[in-house]
């Protein structure tokens, strides 16, 4: 389901309520189970008893409808970007993006590939980058705690930024997706 209107701009919420809610948001991050590159292999151990992400309230959800976090786990092909945009826009607000690996930061070892994009930030608003090729589960957990801190401080505004600068992001996305057939915004 989607509609062809631009998304409404988020307004200011009540302060105290927002603070309490931010605490709740930080302690219950649900991740869309969607892997793009090599990194999805490193995500699996997070759920096992050795690393156990559930103790931070992080859980995997199979559908973007119920998730808060989208993890871009490694190189992103232009073909995959189309799907990722769909998934990202279907996540309900507030939503965050964690990008793993040097491939998402500047192209990494695929910097001169014909179909993987180099700087993810131009196409989707990234809240936390975790560097490494591939980051170990410890590093990913570190990235999560950084995101939690950001949410608690109320600084994780990637999704607001995306909505406010939708034109900029769309322009960049359309530049590399030549057969653009997505609606104006996916709900």
């Amino acid at each position: 389901m989607y509609c062809n209107q631009p998304p409404e701009k988020p307004g200011n919420k009540k302060e105290l309520l927002e603070k309490i809610t931010n605490m709740a948001r930080a302690n219950s991050l649900w991740v869309t189970a969607y892997g793009t590159g090599c990194g999805s292999i490193e995500l699996r151990p997070l759920g096992t008893s050795r690393f156990d992400m559930e103790r931070f309230g992080i859980a995997m959800r199979p559908t973007p409808r119920q998730a808060d976090v989208l993890i871009i786990s490694g190189y992103l092909a232009t073909k995959t970007l189309k799907r990722v945009i769909r998934v990202y826009e279907q996540i309900q607000d507030p939503k965050y993006i964690i990008a793993l690996g040097s491939c998402t930061i500047n192209g990494g070892m695929y910097f001169d590939s014909y179909n993987t994009l180099n700087v993810l930030d131009k196409y989707l608003p990234v809240d936390v980058y975790v560097m490494g090729c591939m980051p170990r589960p410890e590093a990913i957990i570190d990235g999560f705690s950084l995101l939690m801190q950001k949410i608690k401080d109320g600084r994780a505004h990637g999704w607001k930024h995306y909505k406010e600068n939708l034109d900029y992001y769309r322009e960049n996305q359309k530049k590399i997706i030549t057969d653009w057939d997505l609606p104006d915004y996916n709900w």
Partner: protein, 300 residues
């Protein structure tokens, strides 16, 4: 009248809190069995609040919105009809002769509403899960109903209050000892009711990721969760009243429901999952036969 209303409201609130807390405890118990730390026990409250405050912009038609309400309604109906604590009149919210049959029907009703709503969402996984769930429900509901009828016929009362009152003469008068076969059947039917493994074909995270609630998001999902917690507690209280002699004090109620809740948790964390037809075949034969044995015994 007012006392009645406030006691109902208190019951519902208490049941919700207790249900969510039990859910949190069960999550950490499962985690410990896996050898993990597991989440906090309050994790479910945090999740619920977060979900409640997320925006929601998904619409799939009227039934989609109604489904969680159906479930919550069913749970509340069960809650206010079953006496919570024996001897304290304030907890006898609404019980009347013949409410056993209404209860069995209403337990169906909540799941049916869920099924309609999930079917309306149009997601293929949700539809598959609903068809599996209804098939399984028709099989465990049979053994559960036969067990309840056996108990009711044996005690000559169709009122939950009467069934509870008949069990007050010490532990040996509990129905689980007076009707061992029917109780075994009902307890086996309790596993699929709680969607515990090996009967977890409805949520089956490996094939149909989470089944019915696939399309539900944010606020709707939080209602769904609270409905599930409420329904869980309602079922627990019903089982405690039917089989374990009701509760003579608040402490007894909490202890009994807690222990009963842990039973599917422990079972499900060590079992793999049946396939649909295996699960249904098992439920048609073993618990139903067990319950029938007692029914025949009582009739004779």
């Amino acid at each position: 009248m007012f006392a009645n209303f406030s006691s109902i409201a208190l019951t519902i609130l208490g049941a919700l809190t207790w249900g969510l807390l039990l859910g949190g405890i069960s999550r950490s118990v499962t985690a410990r069995i896996h050898g993990r730390m597991g989440p906090r026990v309050t994790q479910n409250f945090i999740d619920l609040w977060k979900l409640f405050r997320k925006t929601s912009s998904i619409h799939h038609g009227g039934m989609f919105w109604m489904a969680p309400m159906f479930r919550i309604t069913g749970a509340i109906c069960v809650l206010i009809m079953v006496p919570l604590v024996v001897g304290q009149n304030i907890t006898y919210n609404m019980s009347f002769a013949g409410d056993v049959f209404l209860l069995i029907y209403i337990m169906f009703f909540g799941c049916l509403g869920m099924a309609l709503g999930a079917g309306n969402s149009g997601h293929p996984y949700a539809v598959i899960a609903v068809s599996r769930g209804l098939a399984q429900m028709s099989s465990y509901e049979l053994s559960f109903s036969i067990a309840v009828v056996a108990i009711a016929v044996g005690l000559h009362t169709f009122k939950i209050e009467g069934i509870v009152a008949a069990q007050q003469a010490g532990i040996t008068s509990w129905n689980i000892f007076r009707f061992p076969f029917a109780s075994a059947g009902a307890l086996l039917a309790f596993l699929p009711m709680q969607m515990a493994y090996p009967f977890g074909i409805v949520l089956a995270p490996q094939e149909i990721p989470i089944g019915p609630p696939t399309e539900y998001s944010s606020r709707m999902l939080s209602f769904m969760f609270s409905g599930r917690a409420l329904f869980g507690v309602a079922k627990l209280i019903l089982f405690v009243s039917l089989l374990f002699g009701g509760a003579s004090s608040w402490l007894g109620l909490f202890v009994k429901t807690f222990l009963l809740y842990m039973y599917p948790v422990v079972v499900s964390s060590v079992f793999p999952r049946f396939r649909t037809e295996q699960s249904i075949r098992f439920l048609w034969f073993i618990p139903t036969t067990l319950a029938l044995v007692d029914l025949v015994r009582v009739m004779l």
